[in-house]
């Protein structure tokens, strides 16, 4: 299988973890794991771990060897149209008002805060959340048409996130940028 990725620069040994979160039995909640399925069809470079963690984001503890970056794919309701993709910088999310005192279970953001507080290896790790606006969160093994339609763009965005900067694309190769909004 031909790798879509060039070799990473020498000395850059830190890992990137791409993790899909969600329950595949609840319709669009399964977008994270479905994108992981799609990524699993591509041969990933050795510095990237691709993980389907289901609903258990805390299972990330098995991969925390001072990662350079964690890219999380999840259904995130942000008030947009179904299938819309938003990219969130964790540092911006985490510095806003802490509402976990009245919160619910251990949420995605809270898991990340917990891991950051317990594992010094994460101190300088960049964390990015890629959120897809869900349409249907009901018992189903299928995604809605809108969210299914976002898979290619989410995959493209993940590949941009894990690619050595500034650009890894081969000369002359056409590359359509992913359609998403940055926050």
């Amino acid at each position: 299988m031909r790798s879509a990725f060039p070799k990473k620069k020498a000395g850059a040994s830190r890992k990137i973890i791409v993790v899909g979160v969600g329950n595949r039995l609840l319709g669009d909640e399964g977008i994270g794991p479905c994108v992981i399925d799609n990524l699993s069809r591509v041969r990933m470079p050795s510095y990237v771990d691709v993980v389907d963690c289901g609903c258990d984001l805390l299972s990330l503890t098995s991969y925390l060897d001072r990662p350079q970056k964690i890219v999380i794919i999840d259904a995130i309701r942000a008030g947009g149209k179904p299938g819309e993709i938003n990219r969130f910088d964790y540092s911006k999310l985490a510095t806003t008002k802490d509402e976990t005192q009245s919160g619910h279970q251990i949420g995605t953001i809270d898991v990340l805060r917990l891991l950051k507080s317990v594992y010094p290896a994460l101190a300088d790790s960049e964390i990015v959340l890629i959120g897809v606006e869900p349409k249907m969160l009901e018992l189903s093994t299928d995604l809605s048409q809108e969210v299914r339609g976002s898979i290619a763009d989410v995959t493209r965005l993940v590949i941009e996130e894990i690619s050595p900067q500034p650009s890894f694309w081969r000369k002359g190769e056409k590359h359509e940028r992913s359609k998403h909004t940055d926050y």
């Binding site: 619910h104 949420g107 995605t108 018992l139």
Partner: protein, 443 residues
């Protein structure tokens, strides 16, 4: 005096639910535990599917209970199709389930329950003062994941356990590596017992309980068994599970409730120790004695201590299983050949939160025609309401602010898994300023 107490969402319960208590003339009139639990309704996802597609779907009901769902599902399929698996397969499956037990108990104790007893609102807050303890809990959870990854091929949602056996058995080296990690984990689990032994356990929800758990023919404590034992002295074959889980539909909840002879009952670590605790040995037996679980407890808040004991048990048992596998030598055996036929079967496993039943029927082409999944949480719901009622009666003069967290403690002690609730991150995007409105991810 309270007229009603409503807790819309329960903090640190996997999934979420609410508690409503109605009080009339100074007495508790009504207690409802309303959850959005629906594993029963997962059945339409598998009707019509081939026998080998069922476990890979239903294992996803819950990430934390994934190993238990996988094994119970495979056992139900094999029972229906008349498949006998090898001793090696049975041992490897048990190892998977023990891994799930370690993972789930560590998560519940350190991230969801101990913060209650030490007066912290969350595991994050607990970590600010007790970093090493929280880290130890996460390391124990990771150990449970590591076992499942080594045996099941993945930390969650095993793809390696299949109908009739395993796709690829673990290597001797992988088992030796696991053994080393388990030996370290045993020390950590004993430290967890020490930590739990120092907690002050309130008794406001104490009341007589009927306990139910699987009972094995063997001499040792087990998470498997062909019979269901109750603290009433009744026993049933697992095929007769519906006589135990006599379900009723209640208006206030999406979930059905289970009653035995019209009475609520409890399943889970405390029930197992109440019924099978005398079979514990080694460090787990010492832990049971240390935590005061030698006599029958009527206080469900002791379920946390029972989970600490079981963490020690599951690690010791995993070490024993690995020793047996190494002694016998890992065989590169193929899964048992399946001869498709019509049939029906039940599989039951003691999942971390209690007895889990999967029951299926197949047609002669091996297509699933009926499925029934009874989760431990569904069985515990009626008992949770009973304990909430007792607690409110005992604490009726306390303020709303004081009572609410105590009722939540009762619910959390059962470690309820309301896993099919929708729980996603919500963010409020306001003029490109981001604030976290709510996060409901189950972990």
């Amino acid at each position: 005096m309270h007229k009603s107490i409503v807790i819309d969402h329960l903090c640190r319960v996997e999934g979420h639910g609410g508690i409503t208590v109605r009080i009339k003339d100074g007495k508790v009139a009504d207690v409802n535990m309303d959850i959005f639990e629906g594993p029963r309704f997962f059945e339409p996802l598998v009707v019509g599917r081939s026998y080998d597609e069922v476990a890979p779907i239903l294992m996803r009901i819950c990430a934390i209970c994934s190993a238990s769902h996988t094994v119970a599902s495979l056992m139900a399929v094999e029972s229906a199709l008349g498949i006998e698996v090898s001793t090696q397969t049975r041992l490897l499956r048990e190892l998977l389930v023990q891994g799930g037990n370690i993972e789930s108990h560590a998560l519940h104790l350190f991230c969801l329950s101990i913060p209650d007893f030490l007066g912290y609102p969350s595991a994050i807050a607990l970590a600010s003062d007790h970093l090493q303890e929280v880290k130890m809990g996460l390391e124990l959870k990771k150990l449970g994941n590591t076992i499942q990854e080594a045996i099941g091929g993945r930390a969650i949602h095993s793809m390696n356990a299949v109908v009739g056996g395993f796709g690829r058995p673990p290597t001797r080296e992988a088992l030796l590596d696991l053994k080393g990690q388990l030996t370290k984990g045993l020390e950590q689990s004993l430290a967890a017992v020490d930590l739990v032994s120092g907690l002050e356990i309130p008794d406001f929800c104490t009341s007589p309980n009927i306990y139910a758990a699987l009972s094995s023919d063997g001499s040792g404590y087990s998470l498997f068994g062909d019979r269901i034992a109750l603290s009433t002295g009744d026993t049933k074959d697992i095929k007769m599970y519906k006589e135990i889980c006599n379900e009723r539909v209640v208006a206030h909840s999406h979930a059905k409730q289970s009653l035995f002879k019209g009475k609520p009952f409890a399943v889970g670590a405390l029930a197992r120790i109440a019924l099978n605790g005398e079979k514990l040995s080694g460090q787990a037996k010492k832990a049971k004695d240390k935590l005061g679980l030698s006599s029958l407890s009527e206080n469900m808040l002791d379920n946390n201590a029972a989970q600490a004991v079981e963490m020690v048990y599951s690690i010791e048992r995993s070490l024993d299983i690995i020793d047996e596998l190494l002694r016998e030598g890992i065989k590169q055996e193929e899964p048992v050949e399946v001869r498709i036929r019509a049939g029906a079967g039940v599989g039951a496993v003691e999942a971390p939160r209690g007895t889990l039943y999967h029951s299926y029927s197949f047609d002669k082409a091996g297509r699933l025609t009926e499925a029934d999944v009874i989760t431990p949480t569904a069985q515990n719901l009626a008992n949770i309401e009973k304990d909430l009622r007792i607690s409110v009666e005992n604490l009726i003069d306390e303020s709303r602010e004081s009572l609410g967290p105590k009722l939540e403690m009762v619910v959390r002690a059962y470690d309820p898994c309301i896993s099919c609730a929708v729980h996603l991150v919500e963010v409020n995007l306001d003029e490109k300023r981001i604030s976290k409105k709510e996060s409901r991810r189950i972990t």
